[in-house]
């Protein structure tokens, strides 16, 4: 084995949570396979710091990658991989992970597995386990090309503790050629995590009835525990929440530690997006609602009565 290479994403010079999460898992896998861990960083970021989480070498591709283009990212990653010669590449299943990484796999003529929720070492190789059919079925993916590429769903692995020293940084020169140009970037003015990365989510359903109620009940409840707001499609279709906030088969797939479903029935298409949440709390006044079959804790109650009390209890508990 010539090692496991992780793609470390960063924004404005700070590494994303996915970078340390992948390093933690890669370190475990490398120990089982008797190999080492390296990382690739595009552009300006404190590359040597990744040593604290187990990267021995960091390949840092020079240039400005602040504006994203999948072809340019493919050029840069391919150059780093040519130098590092890894057997395995792990990348986050972020927007770029789902856009540039398959392009990279085609460039390198190798196979890849998308959005794995588990990785294990077996027979001297890494095997990825991943959901299919929106999580109704799971399968193992084995890859015969080199490198074997896996993208990983956020929050699938725990954050490693920092230790170790600085990584050695190898500068990589790449001719990264963008085929598109970003003209404008519109980011929502929010400080909470994106749904797909969020650790806590509070979602509301059709039962909220109006955007006013959704704003008055769900948003402050979410804010009380720093959670990201989610919604069922019924709530989105009724104009109570934005489409970006939709959880489910035709919305976002989420994987938080805590998912609170307020007045959501638990339709199969909604479950498809959130069933891997570690702890699910359901508040629904119908004791027969399907969501209860999946809920760690169920409250058969009126959400309008529960929400303010729960919010007060959260605020007290976290103060």
């Amino acid at each position: 084995m010539s090692g496991i290479l992780i793609v470390a994403e960063h924004e404005g010079g700070s590494f994303k949570k996915s970078a340390t999460e992948l390093l933690g898992k890669a370190t475990q896998l490398a120990a089982a396979l008797g190999t080492s861990v390296s990382a690739v960083v595009l552009g300006d970021a404190p590359a040597a710091d990744l040593g604290k989480y187990g990267a021995t070498t960091v390949y840092q591709v020079g240039g400005d990658f602040s504006s994203y283009d999948p072809a340019a990212m493919t050029d840069a990653l391919a150059a780093a991989i040519a130098q590092a010669q890894p057997d395995v590449v792990l990348a986050p299943a972020s927007y770029a992970g789902k856009d540039a990484i398959p392009r990279l796999a085609a460039r390198l003529d190798t196979g890849m597995a998308t959005e794995c929720t588990d990785l294990r070492a077996e027979g001297g190789a890494v095997v990825g386990r991943r959901p299919l059919f929106a999580g109704k079925l799971y399968g193992d993916v084995k890859i015969s090309g080199k490198p074997a590429i896996f993208t990983v769903r956020a929050n699938s692995f725990s954050q490693p503790a920092a230790g170790g020293g600085a990584a050695s940084v190898v500068a990589v020169a790449a001719e990264a050629k963008a085929l598109t140009k970003v003209l404008e970037r519109k980011a929502p003015s929010s400080t909470v995590a994106d749904l797909t990365e969020a650790d806590r989510i509070v979602s509301g359903g059709r039962s909220l009835k109006t955007a006013g109620d959704f704003d008055a009940v769900i948003r402050p409840l979410a804010a009380s525990i720093g959670a990201t707001v989610g919604a069922s499609r019924a709530a989105v279709d009724a104009g109570m929440a934005h489409h970006n906030e939709q959880v489910g088969q035709t919305g976002k797939t989420v994987n938080p530690t805590l998912y609170i479903a307020m007045g959501i029935s638990g339709a199969i298409q909604h479950l498809a997006g959130m069933r891997t949440s570690k702890v699910i709390v359901a508040v629904n006044k119908d004791p027969e609602a399907p969501i209860f079959e999946h809920a760690t804790y169920g409250l058969v109650a009126d959400l309008f009565e529960v929400a303010p009390k729960l919010q007060a209890a959260f605020e007290k508990a976290l103060s």
Binding site: D69, P70, A71, S94, Y95, K98, D99, R103, A105, A106, T110, G111, T114, E115, R129, P131, L132, F133, A134, L137, Y138, D140, S144, L179, T180, K181, V182, L183, R185, K186, P188, S190, D194, T196, E197, R200, H243, T250, G251, L258, I268, Q269, A272, R275, T276, V279, V281, P287, F292, H294, T296, Y297, G298, L299, A301, V306, L310, A313, F314, A317
Partner: protein, 260 residues
């Protein structure tokens, strides 16, 4: 200008799935449809045809009577001029790269200038094929678009990224676009069009007709050990009045599962 679109016929979202006892295969129970994201791609292709008065060709890898019936009843009935359905025994065990290589060869043969895909197929949920097609053709790609303007050979597309971020990107054709929900509102086929679509051309080349061999589509990613989703620990309903349930919930979140 010639418009291409990639349409995969898959099990519907409410299909029931069951892995075989040994995990080597699975059974799908439910009807097949052109995937929901592919439906946005179809609509965008038809809108582009209306604007440029050009031809639309749809591409599908993997045939069968139900696939052909679906394509006739939807894609061709909605306005695609021709469907290309690549069928070959060697495609049975292929992976995304094999599918992409086949699509790229068929697209090249037709000489398309722009290709629309769904952002993901709802069976394998791979999110791989369109980017691979773009790479194999050496084209630009913009994924998860919610807005598109094409003027001449220049385009401006808005993509929906993580965290509610939207970016407007510009580039030149040829390009592959993948459709996100919100790009457009797919129309429904009308009965006369469905009937007329029965006479539209539908070609079924094999790999050799596209200049490919079985080896070109040999899988490098193989899925095995199919099984049910990991089981969740059994949950429970809390008892008592709302105040009791709320304080019990907060206690459990802090002490039992330690997530607060």
């Amino acid at each position: 200008m010639k418009v291409g679109l990639c349409a995969k016929v898959t099990a519907d979202t409410d299909a029931r799935l069951k892995a075989s006892a040994d995990g080597s295969s699975f059974e799908v129970n439910g009807k097949v449809v052109v995937g929901p994201y592919d439906a946005f791609a179809v609509e965008e292709a038809i809108k582009t045809k209306e604007k440029f008065k050009c031809e639309v060709v749809s591409f599908t890898v993997g045939g069968g009577d139900d696939v052909v019936a679906q394509l006739r009843g939807t894609v061709l009935a909605l306005g695609a001029d021709k469907a290309v359905v690549v069928s070959d025994p060697a495609l049975a065990g292929t992976d995304s790269l094999g599918v992409a290589r086949t699509l790229a060869a068929a697209i090249k043969k037709e000489g398309c200038d722009v290709v629309f895909c769904g952002k993901q197929a709802i069976d394998d949920d791979n999110v791989q094929v369109p980017a691979m097609v773009a790479e194999l053709l050496g084209w630009a790609q913009v994924s998860r678009i919610v807005e598109l303007e094409i003027e001449g050979t220049d385009f401006k597309a808005t993509r929906s990224m993580d965290g509610g971020v939207r970016e407007v990107v510009a580039g030149s054709l040829p390009a592959v676009f993948t459709a996100e929900r919100g790009l457009n509102t797919p129309r429904y086929p009308k009965l006369p069009a469905v009937i007329a679509a029965k006479k539209k051309p539908l070609e079924t080349p094999d790999l050799a007709a596209l200049g490919l061999s079985g080896g070109d589509v040999a899988a490098k990613a193989v899925t095995t050990a199919y099984g049910a989703p990991p089981e969740r620990p059994k949950g429970r309903k809390l008892e008592g009045d709302v105040d009791t349930m709320v304080s019990e919930l907060v206690r459990l979140l802090r002490e039992e599962v330690k997530v607060l």
